[in-house]
């Protein structure tokens, strides 16, 4: 085993330890995992009824996805300039529930609340440019019946690497449930940072 192998082994062990320990260190209802290839953290709630998973996406990945749809370069660049998460929401309850991301807030360390940019705003902007595309992004407000779920990109105007707490909520019947996922972060500009 040479020096390179040793370094690789150390790196692998570090990643394995992080993957093992981070979920246990997750706050309350949140499971934190690390992508062993990118080293990026992702977050998944453990709430019984409303399941939320957020995976930070590198700007280059976002460019590749939107570029593959044949969208104009300015559209691709505009989306990739945002802090983007691969987002999965699932109704695990035995009754319908709904969410509205327009009420969610990304709160940075300076206390400023940043709203998500809703899909409808992107779609309207594209429509004004004559672009009919309306996929890949997760719709900002939906009602999910039992077993329904969705996945897509969500966007917030924050610089790469920004740390924040996510204040999110959902409705079941006449009840509104509010939760916080602390110490989240946007993906860095590149993995080299």
């Amino acid at each position: 085993m040479d020096l390179h192998d040793n370094l690789s082994m150390r790196r692998l062990l570090t990643i394995l330890i992080m993957v093992t320990l981070l979920p246990a260190c997750g706050r309350n209802n949140v499971e934190v995992t690390v992508n062993p290839e990118s080293g990026l953290q992702s977050w998944k709630t453990r709430d019984q009824d409303f399941s939320l998973e957020l995976v930070p996406l590198l700007p280059d990945f976002v460019r590749a996805v939107f570029g593959a749809k044949g969208l104009p370069a300015e559209v691709v660049e505009a989306v990739s300039a945002y802090c983007v998460f691969g987002t999965i929401i699932r109704n695990q309850a035995d009754e319908p529930l709904s969410y509205d991301m327009r009420t969610w807030r990304y709160v940075t360390a300076d206390g400023v609340e940043h709203p998500a940019r809703p899909k409808s705003a992107w779609v309207e902007e594209w429509r004004e440019q004559g672009i009919a595309f309306r996929w890949t992004l997760l719709y900002e407000a939906q009602t999910y019946a039992v077993g329904d779920w969705g996945q897509g990109f969500t966007t917030v105007k924050l610089p790469p690497g920004t740390q924040f707490d996510l204040h999110y909520s959902w409705q079941q019947g006449d009840r509104t449930h509010e939760r916080i996922i602390r110490d989240m972060a946007c993906a860095p500009a590149t993995l080299d940072n």
Binding site: S38, V55, A64, G86, F133, W135, Y139, G147
Partner: protein
């Protein structure tokens, strides 16, 4: 701008398209690797019956299909795209369901979004089982918009009178007993 006019302006050889698709598959890995795609659900939601918007769309062979021509059958309309991981995951089970009930007044129409036939044909070649139900193309997403589809995949079951009676948002395991029991019960009513 739409898929037919701006996205795929040149007809690429299928081998090149396949290679591009493989590359895109790799690009898609960091988001939800295949094993990380959430488990498919098994329930469909009954909705108040409402007339299904009619449509006429072309398949990969440019043969047109009109929904209202299928009156008298139960029709599962599935809105999907190849870039959508849960759409890909549920497709084999949709074929399985279709094979199980195709002789009993049950039809499937898979309505692709924002892609062209060459692209989708290459994707189909990568599947273990080539879907035998019609793959239709809605390149400007006009039909999905009329159905109020907000995300992919979304599926509807339409009754023999042409009314939407069930809906599913998100991927489903269509050959699960929960679904087949439902289809059996619907077909039993119709017989």
């Amino acid at each position: 701008m739409n898929a037919s006019s701006g996205i795929w302006p040149v007809r690429l050889p299928r081998s090149i398209t396949s290679a591009l698709l493989l590359c895109l598959g790799w690009l898609a890995m960091p988001l939800p690797a295949a094993e990380e795609i959430p488990t498919l659900s098994t329930t469909l939601t009954a909705v108040d019956p409402v007339e299904a918007p009619d449509f006429t769309l072309s398949d990969m062979d440019e043969t047109t299909h009109t929904l209202s021509d299928l009156r008298g059958n139960y029709v599962l309309v599935n809105f999907w795209a190849t870039w959508c991981p849960p759409c890909r995951k549920e497709m084999p089970s949709l074929e399985s369901l279709y094979q199980q009930y195709r002789e009993r007044s049950f039809r499937v129409l898979a309505v692709n979004q924002w892609e062209n036939p060459d692209h989708v044909f290459s994707y189909m070649g990568e599947l273990d089982v080539f879907p035998s139900f019609p793959i239709l193309f809605d390149p400007k997403s006009e039909v999905s918009e009329r159905y109020g589809v907000r995300g992919l995949p979304t599926s509807f079951i339409i009754d023999p009178q042409g009314r939407i009676i069930y809906r599913a948002i998100g991927g489903r395991e269509f050959n699960h007993p929960d679904v087949t029991t439902l289809i059996e019960s619907l077909l039993g009513k119709g017989s």
